[in-house]
Amino acid sequence: MGHVTHTSLPAVDGWFTTSGPAPALLGSRCGVCTSTYFPPIPGNAGFCRNPACDGEAFDEVELSRRGRIWSYTDAQYQPPAPYIAPQAGASGGEAYVPFALAAVELAEGLVVLGQVADGYGVDDLKVGAEVELVVERLYGDTTEDGSSQDRTIWRWKPVTELGEEADQ
């Protein structure tokens, strides 16, 4: 294992993309009624949950990158498995660092949960405030050849309005 590589992979397949100019969540839009679902419907084939719609085929679409906070909280204690702490892959035994969580309303009319971006806590959040999507490291794991690998996840980052930062 002389050659140690460092790669980065999504923690879950097909739920968000980083291939465009900005990251985006991937949803499934019903081909009949246009209701747009997240998480995406596997294979974009399934059943539209709108009771007035019998759509079974969906198109992959990128969801709004910005939304408004429906509510928020944080995790002051380390959640149980299958949660993997970001510290777990490192030397081990490092202190748990609390993180914030937000439920965010998008223009598609749905609310999507996510962790809040590194460096932000509940004091930076407010119901109704605007946030934008970012992709960050969730935890690290090790591949069979011994190289380390980051697992990434979508997160919500407060949008600081112009001038607001200077006020504080």
Binding site: S71, Y72, T73, D74, Q76, P79, Y83, A103, G109
Partner: protein
């Protein structure tokens, strides 16, 4: 009483706690207590409904038969219900429907559980299509984190404070003091709640209910059987609401990672939790103003305030006003959780919705002792089970 009604002939419980025993032990204890309370011999019971427990192996999956065997096979028909926290209401609905259909006369409904310490974690194994697994793996989203989302909305939208949430705990602790089935029987000061650790902002440890062992049982019977028992004016099941949500359900629900989308269809007229109570009121022909007492699912202190509004006991955003005025305390206009609620019990999932019915039965009979709500004639329970299970039982006399 009308032949279109079902009577609550008897209720019984095994005290909540951490007793380290098998769930069957608790269940049989509660069942025997309910049968004794009803004066019904086990041999008369012709239908048994068990509330499934998912943490106790195969015997828990077939709880109805497990309890029937433990009580001694008597040939009764059997069913087992599972609807997460709403299990008890679904079990009652199953028994009530069969009685109303004339297919049985006396039904025994039993729920019992033993629960582990700490956060309720998902079952083992990787399950990439199960939101209950994904929410932990991808987000670290525990149950208290969901409760905290609802609590925070009350603060940011209606001006609720941590002190308000603490006062819910203070009230419920007071209510539960004399309840022999409650696990925690100790006065709590608001300062104690506020001094306890923050688990998920804004909720402190003492805002969040524990998990407990416990069991509750209800004996239901037809009007004809009630008459033969000599019950002149029994507590009646006026309605059971086991509704599912109406699309789009745009309120973030545990254990989901997202809500339904509303952009293509517009918002639903009522939230899911509002619809649970509405269905019960409609079925019973009873309105929120007629309700004398309520047992609601206070998984957190703040959630009790949500339920008060969801049940139409006051307008949206006014539950704190009601609380601060003492109206939800025993002696107030609409006492909520006279049993002490989950704050004093901790949650024993398949037994909890039945425990709510036990409490209201004692209240409506005037047998609740020091926690009696004077003159209570109509009571309602409210609760919601994971994955879209409404749970509300309306009892009247």
């Amino acid at each position: 009483m009308s032949s279109q009604q079902v009577a609550v002939a008897g209720v019984g419980m095994h005290p909540w706690g951490k007793w380290g025993k098998n769930f069957v032990t608790y269940g049989v204890h509660a069942a025997r207590a309910a049968l004794a309370d009803a004066g019904v011999p086990w041999s008369d019971v012709d239908y048994v409904v068990g509330g499934e427990t998912v943490r106790n192996g195969y015997g828990g999956y077939v709880a109805g038969a497990t309890f029937a065997q433990a009580l001694g096979w008597n040939g009764a028909r059997v069913a087992t219900s599972y609807a997460a926290c709403a299990t008890g209401a679904q079990a009652i609905d199953t028994a009530r429907s069969r009685i109303l259909a004339g297919l049985c006369e006396v039904a025994l409904v039993v729920g019992a559980d033993t629960t582990p310490k700490g956060f309720l974690a998902p079952n083992a194994g990787e399950r990439w299509e199960d939101p209950d697994w994904l929410r932990f793996r991808l987000l670290g989203m525990t149950n208290p984190a969901y409760f905290a989302l609802y609590a925070r909305r009350r603060m940011d939208l209606y001006g609720a404070t941590s002190e308000d949430f603490a006062q819910v705990k203070v009230k419920n602790a007071k209510h539960g003091l004399s309840n022999p089935n409650a696990r925690y029987r100790k006065e709590v000061a608001a300062a104690d709640v506020l001094a306890s650790a923050v688990v998920c902002d804004p909720l402190h440890l003492l805002d969040i209910c524990a998990t407990s062992d416990g069991a509750a049982a209800v004996v239901l019977c037809s009007a004809e059987y009630a008459a033969r028992l000599g019950l002149d004016d029994p507590v009646r099941v006026a309605a059971v609401s086991t509704v599912t949500p109406t699309f789009p359900n745009t309120v973030m629900d545990m254990p989901m990672l997202s809500t339904d989308p509303s952009a293509a269809t517009g918002e639903s007229e009522h939230t899911f939790k509002e619809s649970i109570g509405l269905a019960a009121y409609e079925e019973a022909g009873i309105s929120p103003e007629d309700v004398d007492v309520a047992e609601v699912y206070d998984l957190s202190t703040a959630l009790e305030l949500d339920w008060i509004e969801d049940l139409g006991l006051c307008k949206r955003g006014e539950a704190e006003t009601l609380l601060r005025a003492g109206e939800t305390t025993i002696g107030g206009r609409i006492p909520v959780n006279p049993s002490g609620g989950l704050a004093c019990f901790g949650e024993a999932v398949p037994a909890q919705a039945l425990a709510q019915v036990c409490e209201l039965t004692w209240q409506l009979r005037g047998q609740a002792g020091e926690r009696q709500v004077e003159g209570a004639r109509v009571g309602i329970t409210a609760n919601q089970g994971l994955f879209g299970h409404g749970s509300s039982v309306l009892l009247s006399r």
